[in-house]
Amino acid sequence: MLIVRVLSAVAKPALAGGALTAAAAGGFFAVDKFHGQQPPSAFQQVQGHGQKLLISEFGERSDAIVAIDPADVSQRKTIAQIDHAQGFGVFPVLSPDGQAIAYTALPANAAKPAPDAPALAAVVDVKGKATILADDIDLLVPPIWSPDSTSFVARKNTAQAEGAGSFELLLLHRDGARSSITTWNTAAVFPIAFAPDGSALYFATLNAKGTDLYRVAPDGSGETMVAHLSDQIARNWKLSPDGAKLAYSVTESGAAPAVVTKTLELKSGVAAEAVVAAAGDRSEFNPAWNSDGRLTVASVKAAGGGDAVSVGVSGGDAQRLTTNDAGIDLPLGWSPDGGTLAVRAVDGKTPLDAGEGHVELVDGDGRRDRVSDGVDVLIVGWLR
């Protein structure tokens, strides 16, 4: 295998005068053959060969983006290697068209890396060309792609000596253009997803009053509160494939403390519990939508262990999809054809006992395949 380092191809259209280094973007891209013409990148090579799960495997100084055949997880191909500051992994996300990966990363040469240090936002295209689009964004907020795959949203926090500072959602275009969508000084903001037609971005706000859901046009106009999601911390926000519902989990106190997953009708602003028949000590979290509109959540059992369960569009009784009595299956996402569920299987009967965790693929027959020996594995997306 010929390893081609493409660092020289790094372009910085938005940062022509910046101080970024090529090494900060990092990247190795592998090709099998070279015939005197531009060889296909490893990313290109995995295109058009059916569904592939892309994962990010953490390394102390460099994360590997690996394409895996869900039908045979031993078929793996590293399509990119992203350098980063020591100890701080990257957050990569595959574009909707499957032709690019956007990521946030702390530069490899960061003077003193920290989760709140300014991070890079960059994109790797299908040819393996890495382009840094910003060097001042928040590491821990993964990019949110626009439906047309031409841009993505990143968050930028500007700290202040007192208080939380400001939070800005930026639209970073792959051609280097950059625009501000919204800026908040009264709450932290978290981009969630674009509406399927790209007309709006949904984002959550979080402050002492709870979690709210907003929508705003990509040009920053028409910012509107959609719903107050919770007086508590809501998280795991997932927009349904048709853009009609938002699933999220929230930890509720009160007479019957529970972790529940809810679905919100975006049109009406009405929320309902996803698992309506459940009662007692509930722990349902980590929702993931299937392409058919069914919702999958992790459900911790009273006796310990947690299964991935599926509920219908309108909610209802949970149907068990996986069985895990010794650990908890956290749904991460469905394959495009809806036949395979990626879960993070975390050892331990309860969340407090969480131990080793691995990403596994579960098919309709309940067969499980571990996709990586590593523990620090993130889902980048699915190639169709």
Binding site: F58, A164, K209, D231, G355, G357
Partner: protein, 469 residues
């Protein structure tokens, strides 16, 4: 860590891990040190916009096994390093519940937590990243003025001594690992003692006993910044910024131990507890005995309800927690009295001359004089330089002289005797003059020695080689 409102900006040190450092090119380190030697002399007047020191002062970086550092932490944890010192420890520790809080003289921090914090903060290193172990060279200073092992930022962002100079305490924190460790422990204790007036308590069912490692949950959180949802970097365990829950624990151990090693995924206190339970390995050995602990059960209302969003408001009096169960005591043995002697030694400052002469061509140049600062005793003498005239320039504001009892790696830069260059600003000298440079031996090194600086002005009268005094 920070004491004030900027505490949310805590950052981790960018230091190569031990296993990488052991292979670090020595030439690179040597080159860096040579470069330092070529830097211009520093005026003793203050500089704006810098940290406590214009340039990193020199320090002693102990051997890679970090035994000396870890022993210092064991002493600090048991308040045997600088007992009840108001700056390098605390006079007392608050114990008890919110309604029953009292001051106890039994100052204590679980040493395992100090060790884990030091690894998270600096990979347990006092020296700069390029400085090898078993060497003398520049101290570790982060861009946000975090100094040394504990990455002390509180009080280190600007010189706070008289006449705009660094203070003795700043010099000790920056140059001597033991004072740095002591200061780090003092700040952690300060976070603990901030309860109940400014922070919540952990251990409402265990009298908030500081010997229980779980009871330090909020203090550790505060060490990095008691920031919650809505902050730029929240350490709240349920904050959406940490995408996955439940989380595989963090580990400082080998990458193959089946646990997480990605710092991006954890609030600070989970990094520290994870590191304490899964210590780093150096030279094939864990740096300390694994210290297990239990995190608050976020599914159980006893622990979860206090962490409700509505409760995260100053003075956080609704956030008090029971001790997470099962609880754990730190099993690190209490060090014996000799341990302090091993860590601190019996340093004794010595300066090789009381008078120096500096030749000056006004408005042109000055020829520096040199004095040698050594340690006739053992351990480390941190020292700080000051002058009574603003036109005096010195090559270092502070540094160390290292006794022969401390190990140096054969190939590493390790000048135990410091060479201080004294010069003057020729643009400010009009005629022959005199000044006093004071070299203060700090800590146990106690003595202060003055060096008289006589300035001889040489005026060129037109014929090269001829001067008029």
């Amino acid at each position: 860590m920070k004491m004030g409102g900027r505490e949310g900006l805590r950052r981790h040190a960018g230091r190569l891990p031990a296993q990488c450092l052991s292979h670090a090119p020595r030439l690179l380190a040597a080159a860096a040190l040579s470069l330092t030697a070529l830097l211009p002399l520093r005026a003793t007047t203050p500089h704006a916009g810098a940290c406590a020191f214009v340039d990193p002062p020199t320090t002693y970086e102990a051997t890679e096994d970090r035994k000396l550092y870890l022993r210092a932490m064991e002493l600090a944890g048991n308040d045997m390093l600088f007992p009840h010192d108001p700056f390098f420890s605390q006079a007392s520790i608050e114990v008890g519940t919110r309604s029953n809080r009292t001051n106890s003289p039994d100052v204590y921090v679980p040493p395992s937590l100090l060790k884990a914090i030091s690894w998270i903060e600096s990979v347990t290193s006092q020296g700069a990243g390029a400085l090898p172990f078993g060497a003398i060279g520049p101290a570790l200073v982060s861009f946000d003025c975090g100094y040394g092992i504990s990455q002390v930022t509180s009080g280190m962002t600007a010189p706070v001594g008289e006449a705009g100079q660094p203070s003795d305490q700043q010099a000790m924190v920056a140059t001597h690992f033991a004072y740095n460790v002591g200061r780090g422990a003092a700040i952690l204790l300060d976070k603990w003692n901030a309860a109940p007036s400014d922070r919540p308590i952990v251990g409402i069912d265990t009298n908030s006993d500081p010997h229980i490692v779980e009871n330090w949950y909020y203090a550790i959180w505060s060490y990095n910044g008691f920031t919650g949802p809505g902050a730029n970097r929240s350490n709240h365990p349920l904050d959406p910024i940490y995408g996955s829950w439940p989380r595989t624990p963090y580990s400082c151990g080998p990458s193959t131990d089946g646990l997480s090693h990605n710092r991006s995924l954890f609030p600070y206190q989970e990094l520290v507890y994870g590191c304490a339970a899964h210590p780093p390995q150096v030279q094939g050995q864990p740096l300390w005995t694994a210290q297990p602990s239990t995190l608050p059960d976020l599914k159980n209302p006893y622990w979860r309800a206090p962490l409700d969003l509505a409760n995260f408001q100053y003075p956080y009096n609704k956030m008090d927690l029971p001790t997470p169960k099962p609880l754990h005591m730190d099993t690190t043995p209490k060090p014996d009295l000799l341990a302090r002697l091993v860590v601190l030694g019996l340093p004794r400052l010595a300066v090789d001359r009381p008078i120096v002469l500096v030749n000056v061509r006004p408005g042109q140049s000055a020829t520096p004089a040199e004095v040698r600062i050594s340690n006739d005793g053992s351990g480390i003498v941190p020292w700080r330089v000051s002058a009574n005239k603003s036109w005096i320039k010195v090559s270092q504001q502070a540094g160390v002289a290292v006794g022969s009892d401390l190990a140096c790696k054969p190939s590493a830069p390790c000048e135990r005797t410091a060479v201080l260059k004294i010069s003057v600003d020729p643009s400010k000298i009009l005629g022959s003059d005199a000044a006093v440079v004071r070299i203060a031996g700090l800590g146990g090194g106690g003595a202060t020695q003055d060096v008289a600086v006589f300035v001889k002005v040489n005026v060129a009268i037109g014929v090269p080689g001829t001067t008029k005094n």
